[in-house]
Amino acid sequence: MKKTSDFEFNDLQGLLRFGYGGLTDTCFMLLDVVNVDMAREWLSTAPISSGIKASSLPDTAMQIAFSKEGLSALEISKTIIDGFSDEFIYGMVRSDNCSRRLGDVGHNAPKSWKWGNNAVPHVLLLLYAKQGGIDAWRKTVEDELFKKAFRLIRLLPTTDTGGNRMEPFGFEDGISQPTIDWALRQGTDPHERDRYSNLLAAGEMVLGYKNEYGQYTERPLIDPAKDPLAEHLPNAEDDPTLKDFARNGTYLILRELGQDVPGFWQFLDKVSDSEPNKREKLAAFMVGRERDGTPLIAEHIPGVSRKDHGNNFTYDLDANGVHCPISAHVRRANPRTGDLPSGVTGFISQLIRILGFGQKNHDADLVASSRFHRILRRGRSYGPTLSPEEAIQPDAPIAERGLQFICLAANISRQFEFVQNSWIINSKFGGLQQESDPLLGDREPLLSGENTDQFNHLDSLGAKQKVCHLPNFVTVHGGGYFFMPGLRALKYISSLTTKGSHNES
């Protein structure tokens, strides 16, 4: 049996393992490479934090990721770049089809984004520091060499969290995350896990390892005979004659999401007849948790410690969404479904379910198995806090507020894009009608004219309560796909030389 400590954490960027919650202050920069040699030189000594657990909280941390444009600017060979997925190569705004699926239409359309719609910046640099320490850390990082090597394209707004995990609407965030199977112990046989489990194959989050299908996700592999520089890269586990450029790396998905906090609470207040309790209840229904993070459902599930009250539940016993509406944000974003609909007790009942029978509920089994569609969220909020009580005032102070949504995943299409499309934006999710994610929906009607701007929940008698004409609460301001390399791959990137003797002979 393997141990968690066997994992190559020293080659992993720390963000895959930690959220750096203790480092409350952040500075997220989008950069372009302006001088390749200097950029490489800077990269070769940049203190990128690894996944090794330090004995005490560090004062600062730094993480780095590159867009495809960035890898090209750093003269990574086309053969390597072609080994990445289409989503990464062609990007988040690669086609109208992609925008339709991600809900980047109407007011979210890329044409009104602040960045990422024309050219994706080369580098995403994430700086973390303890409270009050970010300015000094940024100064240290931005030395003379750095300034010559890179140009700042955009400073993504962030705000010191002050140690609390409240997102701008006022909800506790970052409670539920997949537990990564660093020890690589868990079997990955499909149909082996009828029920939901929070434990996830490392290959779902880190490239170069087996994913939930027991397979290795597509990624660039290098023949070391043709590229001597690759010698120091890790071997590809599925083909030891090749070097794995992406091992211990992953994709980083970034979306800048503006949140209309007064708009959110004023709308809720209006439809709740200005009754604070009703308003709170409705807000909790929309998110799927109370503001302090308390789930709307209590139950024990495997893979989650009994002590983790915030995550000890599935929706199996709440098929109709009496306790937590089916459309609630967290229920859409992670429906906590297993491989088979509930009720499997043995071989026969399993077989019956595989064949599509034995379902108690007409709307049973409409949602995909969750383990193939998990993401690791690492976002940070920005903007001044505004309590619901303040937000409902007609003169509530307007300010830029929102979330720098960051998530990590080894397969952009199957994880992030699937969750965003089939679960969050889809107005037919789980058999629903006319409703998209209450927080994130784009509210655009379907081609047939059918609305998608409702939110339905059940009252205590089980009667459906409709809230109609939800306005937009969230607006996409920009986004892009990045590759967050392992540390040896970073070394490879920084040790290339322009004349290119490293490359295919």
Partner: protein, 434 residues
């Protein structure tokens, strides 16, 4: 009940006509790949019995892959296929089609070989070019377009009315709420704004044929079972040998190809899907393929005709068709959701079924015992299905915005009007559907 039937008219495109044909078909569209229902050539919306239709130009883009088996590709000339799913007899539909759209049909099929306008009987020509599927799937046997449309109006009527009265009714007294709704339905019917037609009587002929099929297939299998039993070990041996030796093709589809396909996708809640490829060489694969499709057809016809195909509830219609003298196979479906979620269903919900059929096709990822692995080799599977997918020139769906689950729910709402619920809990459940 009015059973559904299908047609698939196929004709080879004349030399030099491909581009012109493509442009002509493209002009029928409103948005990429999606027919304008009122287009001048074939105004699909005029045909009340038509569920889905598509024009697809079948090209063998992946024909070279069979070389991996040491076999030379057979020649294939691009062929135009016009396929659709209709209520009632497909011959009656074709006659109706010719009556209403003969000039359009002629304009289109004049780009094909074997078509001359002189003394042409269009209906006969269509019938002569129709090919039958080896397996066919209908999401809900007997649910007509007319019924679907009536039930949509019923749902909308009830939903609007419920919203109107929501604040004035006493939700504790659920029976009165139901009574109000029922009276409203009666009112609307009376005013002629709502119709709930009774199903047509099922034709005797169809019933008898269906019964013969229902009993005949198991009977023949039973008679053959001693033979099949003897053959089984040899079958298993041969199967495992082939599974070990068949080459697995791990070829990523070009992004250009993916782009052509995806421009047409995700405009509505449903999408179309057509794939075309080679049957693996050898009699063993062909017979296995045919046998499995025969079973698929049997189960689709008699078991999976009530809203689900094994665990999948998102497919409206699907068909498997052998072409080119059994050397090639064509699969077409109409499904709800995105392509990625369709593939997710294929892999995670019915991977075993997909493996049983398509493991006999060139390029399919390696299976073990025909049901294991295969689709679960995620990338190999996703690559191969995308590579073999061909774009659709024109696609028509009679009820945009509605998923198969929506249709089933609307039917249940209607059932609740016709059959009184027994207790309050059932009434509440019914009300939740609205």
């Amino acid at each position: 009940m009015t059973p559904q039937s299908t047609f698939m008219i196929v004709a080879t495109v004349s030399v030099g006509q491909l581009k012109k044909l493509r442009d002509l078909l493209g002009a029928m569209n409103k948005i990429p790949g999606h027919a304008d229902p009122e287009n001048a050539l074939i105004p699909f919306c005029k045909f009340d019995q038509l569920h889905f239709a598509r024009f697809v130009i079948i090209e063998a883009n992946t024909a070279h892959e069979i070389r991996e088996f040491g076999v030379n590709p057979r020649p294939w000339r691009p062929a135009l296929a016009f396929l659709g799913d209709v209520d009632g007899d497909m011959h009656a539909f074709l006659a109706d089609l010719v009556n209403n759209a003969e000039p359009g049909l002629k304009a289109i099929f004049s780009h094909c070989e074997d078509f001359s306008e002189e003394n042409l009987d269009m209906l006969q020509w269509l019938q002569a070019h129709d090919i039958r599927p080896n397996a066919n799937y209908v999401n809900w046997l007997g649910r007509t377009v007319k019924q679907i449309r009536e039930e949509v109006i019923l749902h909308q009527t009830l939903s609007r009315y419920l919203q109107e009265i929501a604040h004035d009714v006493d939700w504790e007294d659920i029976r009165t709420v139901r009574q109000k709704l029922l009276s409203h339905v009666e009112m609307e019917k009376h005013k002629g704004r709502l119709t709930l037609s009774l199903p047509e009587p099922t034709s005797r002929e169809w019933k008898i044929r269906n019964l013969f099929h229902l009993l005949g297939v198991p009977l023949i299998l039973l008679i053959l079972s001693p033979l099949l039993l003897i053959a089984l070990p040899f079958f298993a041996l041969r199967l495992r040998m082939l599974e070990r030796s068949d080459p697995e093709l791990f070829i990523r589809p070009s992004y250009e190809h993916v782009k052509v396909l995806s421009v047409q996708e995700d405009w509505d809640v449903s999408n179309q899907y057509s794939v075309f490829g080679d049957v693996k060489p050898g009699l063993f694969r062909l017979l296995t393929f045919k046998f499995i499709l025969m079973l698929t057809n049997y189960f689709a016809r008699h078991v999976y005709n009530r809203g689900f195909l094994a665990r999948i509830k998102t497919i409206h219609f699907a068909r498997w068709v052998f072409m080119d003298n059994n050397h090639r196979v064509f699969f077409a479906s109409n499904y709800d959701g995105s392509h990625e979620s369709y593939m997710d269903d294929f892999i995670n919900k019915v991977g075993w079924g997909l493996n049983l059929t398509f493991s006999n096709a060139v390029g399919y990822p390696t299976t073990t015992w025909m049901i294991k692995e295969g689709a679960q080799r995620e990338h190999a599977f996703k690559y191969t299905q995308r590579r073999h997918q061909i774009p659709t020139e024109v696609w028509y769906k009679a009820y945009p915005g509605l998923t198969a689950v929506d249709l089933a729910r609307n039917s249940r709402i209607r059932q609740g009007i016709e059959i009184r619920q027994e207790n309050d809990a059932e009434i509440r459940e019914w009300l939740r559907l609205i």
